[in-house]
């Protein structure tokens, strides 16, 4: 039947799309909130780890012919390792340096990684095959692909797992303690260097996971990380630095703004939504929507 589909259905489809998109945005956001929010490293290379995860997925599935479900954890693991290596090589010797210095180094890392990716894989977009059925899941008048549903479920699971690690485990407590007061945490016997590496690796792993999940949904290109980085910053600032629930909610808010903005305002400005949001939020409430109050002085 082809005729007028009522506008309610369009809205429902937009909402469904935003929910699915929000899950991966949240994943990107909590990865960055660990690094930017807790470590106070403005990690411009975050998006490169996202791209790295996607390329590793491509490598395993399309080049080496590995099983899709096996390739996913492998890609994430490699992301964790790359993150750990970056922390060890680039950031360890800058411990205690000011935020501008680490930022410049991370910009250097970003440019280098992206262009190494470009040299390795060329600029041609790659797509990754999935084991999911190609016909979508239809729910009444709206529909979504099985692949996206899978991404959404895995993203939520990862967010939950991260939340548990940070709040329930000894490692998570040590992380929080370290970034609240590094010297005192050291006095408690926490190995500060290990915590820095672990935190950066965990954040990187989450970015790689987002890339590995979204790579098969979209296409894989070397520049895919740029927008991902900037959106992750928007999400983290939206949610308040270092707040995992904030980053999760921030991810969904950004997804809804983009989806509804593109659907009802102008699709050309879709990617501007995040930036406008950052500017407005920082001007109105500079600490983000969900930041904790701290005593100054």
């Amino acid at each position: 039947m082809r005729g007028k589909i009522p506008n309610m259905d369009q809205l429902l489809q937009h909402i469904l799309n935003a929910l699915i998109l929000g899950g991966t945005y949240a994943l990107l956001g909590i990865g960055l909130t660990l690094i930017f929010g807790i470590m106070r490293v403005v990690n411009f290379a975050h998006g490169e780890l996202y791209a790295f995860g996607a390329y590793m997925m491509y490598l395993w599935v399309m080049v080496l012919g590995a099983n899709f479900y096996l390739a996913l954890p492998l890609a994430v693991l490699l992301g964790v390792m790359l993150g750990a290596a970056m922390e060890l090589v680039l950031l360890r010797r800058l411990r205690g340096a000011d935020i501008d210095t680490t930022m410049l180094v991370m910009i250097g890392a970003w440019i280098t990684l992206q262009n190494v990716e470009q040299m390795t894989w060329s600029g041609v977009a790659k797509s990754i095959n999935t084991p999911f059925p190609s016909s979508p899941l239809v729910l009444g008048s709206v529909s979504l692909s099985w692949n996206r549903l899978f991404v959404f479920v895995v993203a939520l699971a990862l967010i939950g797992a991260t939340y548990a690690v940070i709040n329930r485990t000894k490692l998570g407590k040590a992380m929080r303690a370290t970034f609240q007061d590094r010297d005192t945490a050291a006095l408690m016997g926490v190995d500060i260097n290990w915590i820095h590496t672990a935190t950066f690796a965990l954040g990187s792993g989450l970015a790689a996971a987002a890339g590995a999940l979204l790579g098969p949904v979209f296409v894989v290109v070397p520049t895919m990380g740029d927008l991902a980085s900037l959106k992750a910053f928007a999400i983290v600032i939206l949610g308040g630095l270092g707040s995992i629930p904030g980053a999760t909610i921030g991810g969904f808010i950004l997804a809804f703004m983009e989806e509804l903005g593109a659907g009802y305002v102008s699709s050309g400005y879709r990617d501007a939504m995040g930036f406008l949001l950052i500017i407005v939020i920082l001007l109105v409430k500079p600490t983000g929507l969900f930041a904790q109050k701290e005593r100054i002085g």
Partner: protein, 346 residues
């Protein structure tokens, strides 16, 4: 002595088109010069007030677009039935407009974004540049969007009927860039050696202390942003009328990064730093091109150099050279205290 050296340098730079008959190299020098002006302007913010603005390319782009649009003329509908149209203006006037509009944007952005500092300030400036890029991309009626503004007229100066200087050829453009560069250099130099520059340095070194001796923080940050944005806008205008095409890609983040690398490598907070850094990174792409290196290699070189500079030359090339030189001359004769003090202020 010092002045003599400056004049010798100037004479040398002015003589370049006379003996250099390779127009391509001259083209490279002009492009490098435009970027050096932009880097000098960024240095005022980054080096003297200590604010890491990563949206600087926005002012460059705004200058380029404003100048191009003024010289080409345009008509836009601000409301469905309210059209604003501007007739083409002379290029010299357009370039002035570009500079002023960029400065005006600097004022507005400065007022807004200096409410936040540190990482937040960086993200706000990045977002600002990105929003401007998206506006340039999507406001097709004004900017032609990705179709770019083409056939931008080149600069002509003169009195009608008497004589006319046309800036179509390269040597003329070279002198134009050189002249603007020298003006910007002189303005920055005077500024940083004055009350205003000292206020900026005070803010960079210790903001609460600066405020306690009466430095109006916002006022001087905004002043620095206006001057810096205006100069970046002038560089953008030069670019627009030399390359004669402006597209939304002039707002790409990578250009800001290039300017930051130039300033940091050369030495932020020094007058010569951005010139040295700008010369190195302005000529590097062409050197790599001559070596037939793929462009990725150029960017990887940028990235690796950036990391290495932060590690090994955290203050940049110019301060490192100066320290080395002082170390040498200190062996020969201890410097007069007065001289040392003015050196450090630079």
């Amino acid at each position: 002595m010092k002045q003599g050296l400056t004049i010798a340098w100037l004479l040398f730079l002015a003589s370049v088109p006379l003996w250099l008959n390779n127009l391509y190299v001259l083209h490279v020098l002009i492009m490098a010069g435009i970027f050096i002006i932009a880097a000098m302007s960024l240095n005022l913010l980054l080096g003297y007030t200590g604010q890491l603005s990563l949206g600087h390319v926005a002012f460059f782009g705004i200058g380029a677009y404003a100048s191009s649009l003024a010289s080409l003329g345009f008509a836009v509908h601000l409301l469905p039935d309210w059209q604003v149209s501007v007739d083409p203006k002379p290029v010299w006037f357009s370039m002035l407009c570009g500079t002023l509009i960029a400065g005006l944007c600097g004022w507005a952005i400065g007022r807004l974004s200096f409410k936040v500092r540190g990482a937040y300030f960086v993200i706000v400036t990045v977002s600002f540049a990105e929003v401007i890029r998206l506006v340039a991309l999507n406001w097709v009626e004004l900017t032609q969007g990705p179709m770019a503004l083409n056939n931008i007229p080149y600069l002509r100066l003169g009195i009608p009927g008497l004589f006319e200087l046309s800036f179509l050829r390269k040597p003329a453009n070279y002198y134009l860039v050189l002249a603007v560069g020298v003006i910007c250099y002189v303005v920055i130099r005077r500024l940083v050696h004055s009350r205003a520059g000292r206020a900026m340095i005070a803010l960079r070194e210790n903001e609460p202390l600066a405020a306690s001796v009466g430095v109006d923080v916002t006022r001087y940050l905004v002043l620095a942003t206006i001057v810096s944005a205006g100069m970046a806008g002038a560089a953008g205008a030069l670019y627009a009328h030399y390359v004669r095409i402006v597209d939304p890609d002039v707002f790409l983040f990578i250009y800001t990064v290039t300017m930051v690398i130039m300033v940091v490598t050369g030495g932020k907070g020094t007058l010569a730093g951005p010139i040295v850094g700008g010369a190195i990174f302005g000529l590097l792409p062409e050197t790599l091109r001559a070596l037939e290196a793929p462009p990725e290699v150029q960017w990887v070189t940028y990235g690796v150099l950036m990391v290495l500079v932060v590690y090994f030359l955290p203050d940049g090339i110019v301060p490192a050279l100066r320290n080395w030189w002082h170390g040498r001359s200190a062996v020969a004769a201890a410097p007069a205290p007065e001289q040392a003090s003015t050196e450090a202020a630079r």
